[in-house]
Protein backbone atom coordinates (compact mmCIF):
# COMPACT_ATOMS: atom_id res chain seq x y z
CA UNK A 1 0.00 0.00 0.00
CA UNK A 2 1.66 3.18 -1.19
CA UNK A 3 -0.22 5.47 1.20
CA UNK A 4 0.84 3.45 4.23
CA UNK A 5 4.44 3.19 3.03
CA UNK A 6 4.76 6.91 2.69
CA UNK A 7 3.34 7.44 6.12
CA UNK A 8 5.79 5.06 7.77
CA UNK A 9 8.78 6.38 5.90
CA UNK A 10 7.84 9.93 6.77
CA UNK A 11 7.23 9.07 10.39
CA UNK A 12 10.70 7.53 10.54
CA UNK A 13 12.27 10.55 8.90
CA UNK A 14 10.55 13.00 11.22
CA UNK A 15 11.44 11.01 14.32
CA UNK A 16 15.01 10.63 13.13
CA UNK A 17 15.21 14.38 12.62
CA UNK A 18 13.93 14.95 16.12
CA UNK A 19 16.31 12.47 17.78
CA UNK A 20 19.40 13.40 15.76
CA UNK A 21 18.80 17.10 16.43
CA UNK A 22 18.61 16.37 20.13
CA UNK A 23 21.40 13.83 20.56
CA UNK A 24 23.60 14.11 17.49
CA UNK A 25 24.80 11.17 15.39
CA UNK A 26 26.97 9.65 18.13
CA UNK A 27 24.44 10.05 20.92
CA UNK A 28 21.35 8.95 19.00
CA UNK A 29 20.15 5.36 19.20
CA UNK A 30 18.16 3.53 16.56
CA UNK A 31 15.95 2.33 19.39
CA UNK A 32 15.15 5.95 20.36
CA UNK A 33 14.10 6.74 16.81
CA UNK A 34 11.93 3.65 16.47
CA UNK A 35 10.27 4.27 19.84
CA UNK A 36 9.65 7.92 18.96
CA UNK A 37 8.04 6.87 15.70
CA UNK A 38 6.05 4.15 17.46
CA UNK A 39 7.33 1.44 15.12
CA UNK A 40 9.58 -1.57 15.11
CA UNK A 41 13.33 -1.13 15.10
CA UNK A 42 13.89 -3.27 12.03
CA UNK A 43 11.71 -0.99 9.93
CA UNK A 44 14.43 1.62 10.15
CA UNK A 45 16.78 -0.71 8.34
CA UNK A 46 14.07 -1.76 5.94
CA UNK A 47 13.59 1.82 4.77
CA UNK A 48 17.04 3.32 5.19
CA UNK A 49 19.39 0.30 5.27
CA UNK A 50 21.63 1.74 8.02
CA UNK A 51 21.94 4.37 10.71
CA UNK A 52 24.51 6.16 8.59
CA UNK A 53 22.19 6.49 5.61
CA UNK A 54 19.31 7.62 7.80
CA UNK A 55 21.51 10.23 9.40
CA UNK A 56 22.75 11.45 6.03
CA UNK A 57 19.21 11.90 4.79
CA UNK A 58 18.38 14.02 7.85
CA UNK A 59 21.65 15.92 7.69
CA UNK A 60 21.28 16.85 4.03
CA UNK A 61 17.70 17.99 4.53
CA UNK A 62 18.63 20.20 7.49
CA UNK A 63 21.74 21.62 5.87
CA UNK A 64 19.63 22.41 2.82
CA UNK A 65 17.09 24.29 4.94
CA UNK A 66 19.90 26.35 6.37
CA UNK A 67 21.21 27.38 2.97
CA UNK A 68 17.73 28.13 1.64
CA UNK A 69 17.48 30.77 4.35
CA UNK A 70 20.25 32.79 2.72
CA UNK A 71 18.85 32.80 -0.79
CA UNK A 72 16.29 35.59 -0.28
CA UNK A 73 19.07 37.93 0.82
CA UNK A 74 20.44 37.80 -2.69
CA UNK A 75 17.06 38.05 -4.37
CA UNK A 76 15.35 40.87 -2.57
CA UNK A 77 15.63 44.26 -4.17
CA UNK A 78 16.51 46.22 -1.08
CA UNK A 79 19.10 48.72 -0.03
CA UNK A 80 22.03 47.43 2.00
CA UNK A 81 20.57 48.76 5.26
CA UNK A 82 17.14 47.32 4.54
CA UNK A 83 18.74 44.03 3.61
CA UNK A 84 20.56 43.88 6.95
CA UNK A 85 17.32 44.49 8.82
CA UNK A 86 15.56 41.95 6.62
CA UNK A 87 18.28 39.38 7.22
CA UNK A 88 18.23 39.56 11.01
CA UNK A 89 14.45 39.66 11.22
CA UNK A 90 13.92 36.67 8.93
CA UNK A 91 16.93 34.64 9.94
CA UNK A 92 16.36 34.94 13.66
CA UNK A 93 12.65 34.21 13.17
CA UNK A 94 13.62 31.06 11.32
CA UNK A 95 15.98 30.03 14.10
CA UNK A 96 13.27 30.67 16.70
CA UNK A 97 11.35 27.89 14.96
CA UNK A 98 14.46 25.72 14.58
CA UNK A 99 16.51 26.54 17.67
CA UNK A 100 18.60 23.37 17.70
CA UNK A 101 19.61 23.57 14.05
CA UNK A 102 22.75 25.73 14.54
CA UNK A 103 24.53 23.60 17.13
CA UNK A 104 23.57 20.44 15.22
CA UNK A 105 25.01 21.67 11.93
CA UNK A 106 28.12 23.22 13.47
CA UNK A 107 28.88 20.07 15.46
CA UNK A 108 28.23 17.61 12.67
CA UNK A 109 30.15 19.65 10.11
CA UNK A 110 33.01 19.74 12.60
CA UNK A 111 32.76 15.98 13.13
CA UNK A 112 32.90 15.28 9.41
CA UNK A 113 34.10 18.28 7.38
CA UNK A 114 34.58 16.20 4.25
CA UNK A 115 30.88 15.35 4.02
CA UNK A 116 30.06 19.04 4.22
CA UNK A 117 32.58 19.89 1.52
CA UNK A 118 30.93 17.43 -0.83
CA UNK A 119 27.51 18.81 0.00
CA UNK A 120 28.41 22.39 -0.94
CA UNK A 121 30.50 21.40 -3.95
CA UNK A 122 27.74 22.47 -6.32
CA UNK A 123 27.26 25.91 -4.78
CA UNK A 124 28.93 28.73 -6.66
CA UNK A 125 29.97 31.10 -3.91
CA UNK A 126 32.06 33.18 -6.29
CA UNK A 127 28.94 33.98 -8.27
CA UNK A 128 26.99 34.94 -5.14
CA UNK A 129 29.90 37.08 -4.09
CA UNK A 130 29.87 38.88 -7.44
CA UNK A 131 26.10 39.31 -7.32
CA UNK A 132 26.33 40.91 -3.92
CA UNK A 133 29.14 43.13 -5.08
CA UNK A 134 27.24 44.34 -8.12
CA UNK A 135 23.94 44.83 -6.27
CA UNK A 136 25.58 47.11 -3.73
CA UNK A 137 28.53 48.55 -5.59
CA UNK A 138 27.66 52.14 -4.77
CA UNK A 139 26.70 51.44 -1.16
CA UNK A 140 29.84 49.44 -0.51
CA UNK A 141 31.83 52.41 -1.74
CA UNK A 142 29.74 54.81 0.31
CA UNK A 143 30.30 52.79 3.49
CA UNK A 144 33.94 52.28 2.55
CA UNK A 145 33.59 48.49 2.57
CA UNK A 146 36.36 46.82 0.60
CA UNK A 147 36.04 43.35 -0.87
CA UNK A 148 38.68 42.13 1.56
CA UNK A 149 36.36 43.02 4.43
CA UNK A 150 33.43 41.01 3.11
CA UNK A 151 34.38 37.69 4.78
CA UNK A 152 34.72 39.51 8.10
CA UNK A 153 31.43 41.30 7.58
CA UNK A 154 29.43 38.30 6.41
CA UNK A 155 30.73 36.06 9.19
CA UNK A 156 29.86 38.78 11.69
CA UNK A 157 26.28 38.84 10.45
CA UNK A 158 26.12 35.07 10.86
CA UNK A 159 27.76 35.27 14.27
CA UNK A 160 25.33 37.85 15.62
CA UNK A 161 22.26 35.84 14.61
CA UNK A 162 23.48 32.24 14.97
CA UNK A 163 25.61 32.39 18.11
CA UNK A 164 22.75 32.99 20.59
CA UNK A 165 21.14 29.76 19.40
CA UNK A 166 24.35 27.73 19.22
CA UNK A 167 25.13 28.92 22.75
CA UNK A 168 21.54 28.72 23.93
CA UNK A 169 21.98 26.41 26.95
CA UNK A 170 25.11 28.30 27.92
CA UNK A 171 23.41 31.68 27.81
CA UNK A 172 20.22 30.43 29.44
CA UNK A 173 22.16 29.16 32.44
CA UNK A 174 23.71 32.59 32.93
CA UNK A 175 20.56 34.53 32.06
CA UNK A 176 18.55 32.62 34.63
CA UNK A 177 20.91 33.82 37.33
CA UNK A 178 20.45 37.39 36.13
CA UNK A 179 16.68 37.18 35.82
CA UNK A 180 16.72 37.53 32.06
CA UNK A 181 14.26 35.63 29.86
CA UNK A 182 15.92 33.97 26.88
CA UNK A 183 12.91 34.32 24.57
CA UNK A 184 12.64 38.02 25.29
CA UNK A 185 16.36 38.36 24.65
CA UNK A 186 15.97 36.67 21.25
CA UNK A 187 12.98 38.81 20.31
CA UNK A 188 14.96 41.98 21.10
CA UNK A 189 17.91 40.64 19.20
CA UNK A 190 16.27 41.05 15.78
CA UNK A 191 16.43 44.80 16.10
CA UNK A 192 19.53 45.07 18.23
CA UNK A 193 21.72 43.07 15.83
CA UNK A 194 20.48 45.06 12.85
CA UNK A 195 21.04 48.48 14.41
CA UNK A 196 24.37 47.34 15.85
CA UNK A 197 25.58 46.27 12.41
CA UNK A 198 24.28 49.31 10.59
CA UNK A 199 25.91 51.65 13.07
CA UNK A 200 29.17 49.75 12.77
CA UNK A 201 29.12 50.29 9.01
CA UNK A 202 28.31 53.99 9.01
CA UNK A 203 31.17 56.43 9.11
Amino acid sequence: MVEREKLTEEKIFESATEIFLEKGMDGARMRDIADHAGINKSLLNYYYRSKDRLFNAVYEKLAGQLFDMFAPVFDENLSLEEKIRYFFREHISFLQKNPRLPIFILYEVNRNPERFRKLIQKFDFEALWDTLEKQHEKELAKYNISMEMLPQLMSSLAALSVFPFAARSFLEAIFTKLGIDFDDYIEERKKFAAEFTIKALKR
Copy 2:
Protein backbone atom coordinates in the same frame (compact mmCIF):
# COMPACT_ATOMS: atom_id res chain seq x y z
CA MET B 1 56.05 5.38 43.35
CA VAL B 2 54.45 8.79 43.57
CA GLU B 3 56.43 10.29 40.70
CA ARG B 4 55.35 7.56 38.33
CA GLU B 5 51.75 7.74 39.46
CA LYS B 6 51.54 11.39 38.71
CA LEU B 7 53.00 10.86 35.28
CA THR B 8 50.47 8.19 34.36
CA GLU B 9 47.52 10.08 35.75
CA GLU B 10 48.58 13.20 33.90
CA LYS B 11 49.18 11.31 30.69
CA ILE B 12 45.65 9.92 30.95
CA PHE B 13 44.18 13.33 31.63
CA GLU B 14 45.99 14.95 28.73
CA SER B 15 45.03 12.20 26.33
CA ALA B 16 41.45 12.28 27.53
CA THR B 17 41.39 16.04 26.95
CA GLU B 18 42.69 15.54 23.45
CA ILE B 19 40.22 12.78 22.54
CA PHE B 20 37.16 14.34 24.19
CA LEU B 21 37.88 17.67 22.49
CA GLU B 22 38.05 15.93 19.15
CA LYS B 23 35.18 13.45 19.42
CA GLY B 24 32.98 14.67 22.28
CA MET B 25 31.71 12.49 25.12
CA ASP B 26 29.47 10.32 22.91
CA GLY B 27 32.01 9.86 20.14
CA ALA B 28 35.06 9.23 22.31
CA ARG B 29 36.14 5.68 23.13
CA MET B 30 38.03 4.59 26.23
CA ARG B 31 40.22 2.58 23.88
CA ASP B 32 41.14 5.75 21.93
CA ILE B 33 42.19 7.49 25.12
CA ALA B 34 44.28 4.53 26.35
CA ASP B 35 45.95 4.14 22.96
CA HIS B 36 46.71 7.85 22.76
CA ALA B 37 48.29 7.71 26.22
CA GLY B 38 50.15 4.52 25.33
CA ILE B 39 48.77 2.66 28.33
CA ASN B 40 46.42 -0.14 29.16
CA LYS B 41 42.69 0.39 29.01
CA SER B 42 42.08 -0.77 32.57
CA LEU B 43 44.34 1.95 33.95
CA LEU B 44 41.70 4.47 32.96
CA ASN B 45 39.28 2.80 35.33
CA TYR B 46 41.96 2.42 37.97
CA TYR B 47 42.54 6.17 38.08
CA TYR B 48 39.15 7.59 37.21
CA ARG B 49 36.70 4.76 37.96
CA SER B 50 34.51 5.44 34.90
CA LYS B 51 34.29 7.20 31.56
CA ASP B 52 31.79 9.59 33.06
CA ARG B 53 34.14 10.69 35.85
CA LEU B 54 37.05 11.04 33.46
CA PHE B 55 34.94 13.16 31.17
CA ASN B 56 33.75 15.35 34.03
CA ALA B 57 37.32 16.01 35.12
CA VAL B 58 38.20 17.14 31.60
CA TYR B 59 35.01 19.12 31.17
CA GLU B 60 35.42 21.05 34.41
CA LYS B 61 39.02 21.86 33.64
CA LEU B 62 38.18 23.17 30.17
CA ALA B 63 35.12 25.11 31.29
CA GLY B 64 37.28 26.67 34.01
CA GLN B 65 39.87 27.77 31.45
CA LEU B 66 37.12 29.43 29.48
CA PHE B 67 35.85 31.44 32.43
CA ASP B 68 39.35 32.43 33.51
CA MET B 69 39.67 34.17 30.15
CA PHE B 70 36.99 36.66 31.11
CA ALA B 71 38.39 37.62 34.49
CA PRO B 72 41.03 40.09 33.22
CA VAL B 73 38.32 42.08 31.49
CA PHE B 74 36.98 43.03 34.88
CA ASP B 75 40.36 43.63 36.45
CA GLU B 76 42.16 45.76 33.93
CA ASN B 77 42.00 49.47 34.48
CA LEU B 78 41.16 50.48 30.96
CA SER B 79 38.65 52.65 29.22
CA LEU B 80 35.68 50.94 27.63
CA GLU B 81 37.18 51.24 24.14
CA GLU B 82 40.56 49.95 25.27
CA LYS B 83 38.87 47.12 27.07
CA ILE B 84 37.03 46.09 23.92
CA ARG B 85 40.29 46.03 21.96
CA TYR B 86 41.97 44.17 24.80
CA PHE B 87 39.16 41.62 24.95
CA PHE B 88 39.20 40.71 21.27
CA ARG B 89 42.98 40.62 21.06
CA GLU B 90 43.43 38.40 24.10
CA HIS B 91 40.35 36.26 23.69
CA ILE B 92 40.92 35.46 20.04
CA SER B 93 44.61 34.78 20.74
CA PHE B 94 43.54 32.33 23.42
CA LEU B 95 41.15 30.62 21.03
CA GLN B 96 43.85 30.40 18.37
CA LYS B 97 45.71 28.17 20.82
CA ASN B 98 42.52 26.31 21.81
CA PRO B 99 40.48 26.28 18.60
CA ARG B 100 38.31 23.30 19.47
CA LEU B 101 37.30 24.57 22.90
CA PRO B 102 34.24 26.60 21.80
CA ILE B 103 32.39 23.87 19.92
CA PHE B 104 33.24 21.36 22.66
CA ILE B 105 31.85 23.52 25.44
CA LEU B 106 28.80 24.68 23.50
CA TYR B 107 27.91 21.13 22.50
CA GLU B 108 28.49 19.53 25.87
CA VAL B 109 26.64 22.27 27.74
CA ASN B 110 23.78 21.75 25.31
CA ARG B 111 23.90 17.98 25.87
CA ASN B 112 23.75 18.38 29.64
CA PRO B 113 22.66 21.88 30.72
CA GLU B 114 22.15 20.80 34.32
CA ARG B 115 25.81 19.92 34.80
CA PHE B 116 26.74 23.38 33.55
CA ARG B 117 24.26 25.05 35.89
CA LYS B 118 25.83 23.29 38.85
CA LEU B 119 29.29 24.27 37.69
CA ILE B 120 28.52 27.99 37.56
CA GLN B 121 26.40 27.98 40.70
CA LYS B 122 29.20 29.58 42.69
CA PHE B 123 29.78 32.42 40.23
CA ASP B 124 28.22 35.71 41.22
CA PHE B 125 27.24 37.22 37.91
CA GLU B 126 25.23 39.96 39.58
CA ALA B 127 28.39 41.21 41.28
CA LEU B 128 30.36 41.17 38.01
CA TRP B 129 27.50 43.02 36.39
CA ASP B 130 27.60 45.70 39.07
CA THR B 131 31.39 45.95 38.85
CA LEU B 132 31.20 46.52 35.15
CA GLU B 133 28.47 49.06 35.60
CA LYS B 134 30.42 51.04 38.18
CA GLN B 135 33.70 50.87 36.30
CA HIS B 136 32.15 52.36 33.20
CA GLU B 137 29.26 54.37 34.54
CA LYS B 138 30.23 57.54 32.72
CA GLU B 139 31.16 55.80 29.49
CA LEU B 140 27.94 53.80 29.41
CA ALA B 141 26.06 57.07 29.74
CA LYS B 142 28.22 58.71 27.09
CA TYR B 143 27.60 55.89 24.62
CA ASN B 144 23.96 55.80 25.66
CA ILE B 145 24.17 52.16 26.70
CA SER B 146 21.37 51.22 29.05
CA MET B 147 21.57 48.30 31.47
CA GLU B 148 18.88 46.55 29.47
CA MET B 149 21.21 46.50 26.49
CA LEU B 150 24.09 44.83 28.34
CA PRO B 151 23.04 41.23 27.67
CA GLN B 152 22.74 42.04 23.98
CA LEU B 153 26.08 43.77 23.98
CA MET B 154 28.00 41.17 25.98
CA SER B 155 26.62 38.28 23.95
CA SER B 156 27.56 40.14 20.78
CA LEU B 157 31.15 40.44 21.97
CA ALA B 158 31.18 36.71 22.66
CA ALA B 159 29.52 35.99 19.32
CA LEU B 160 32.03 37.99 17.30
CA SER B 161 35.04 36.24 18.83
CA VAL B 162 33.72 32.74 19.51
CA PHE B 163 31.58 32.06 16.46
CA PRO B 164 34.44 31.82 13.94
CA PHE B 165 35.94 29.02 16.00
CA ALA B 166 32.68 27.24 16.74
CA ALA B 167 31.91 27.40 13.01
CA ARG B 168 35.49 26.75 11.94
CA SER B 169 34.96 23.70 9.71
CA PHE B 170 31.89 25.33 8.23
CA LEU B 171 33.70 28.55 7.38
CA GLU B 172 36.83 26.77 6.19
CA ALA B 173 34.83 24.75 3.67
CA ILE B 174 33.41 27.95 2.21
CA PHE B 175 36.60 29.96 2.49
CA THR B 176 38.55 27.32 0.60
CA LYS B 177 36.23 27.78 -2.37
CA LEU B 178 36.80 31.54 -2.23
CA GLY B 179 40.57 31.31 -1.84
CA ILE B 180 40.54 32.72 1.67
CA ASP B 181 42.96 31.43 4.33
CA PHE B 182 41.26 30.74 7.65
CA ASP B 183 44.29 31.65 9.78
CA ASP B 184 44.67 34.99 8.03
CA TYR B 185 40.98 35.62 8.53
CA ILE B 186 41.33 34.96 12.28
CA GLU B 187 44.38 37.18 12.59
CA GLU B 188 42.51 40.04 10.92
CA ARG B 189 39.53 39.39 13.11
CA LYS B 190 41.18 40.71 16.28
CA LYS B 191 41.15 44.22 14.89
CA PHE B 192 38.05 43.96 12.76
CA ALA B 193 35.81 42.81 15.60
CA ALA B 194 37.14 45.53 17.92
CA GLU B 195 36.67 48.36 15.45
CA PHE B 196 33.29 46.98 14.37
CA THR B 197 32.06 46.97 17.96
CA ILE B 198 33.48 50.36 18.86
CA LYS B 199 31.91 51.95 15.80
CA ALA B 200 28.60 50.32 16.62
CA LEU B 201 28.68 51.91 20.06
CA LYS B 202 29.57 55.44 19.03
CA ARG B 203 26.78 57.80 18.21
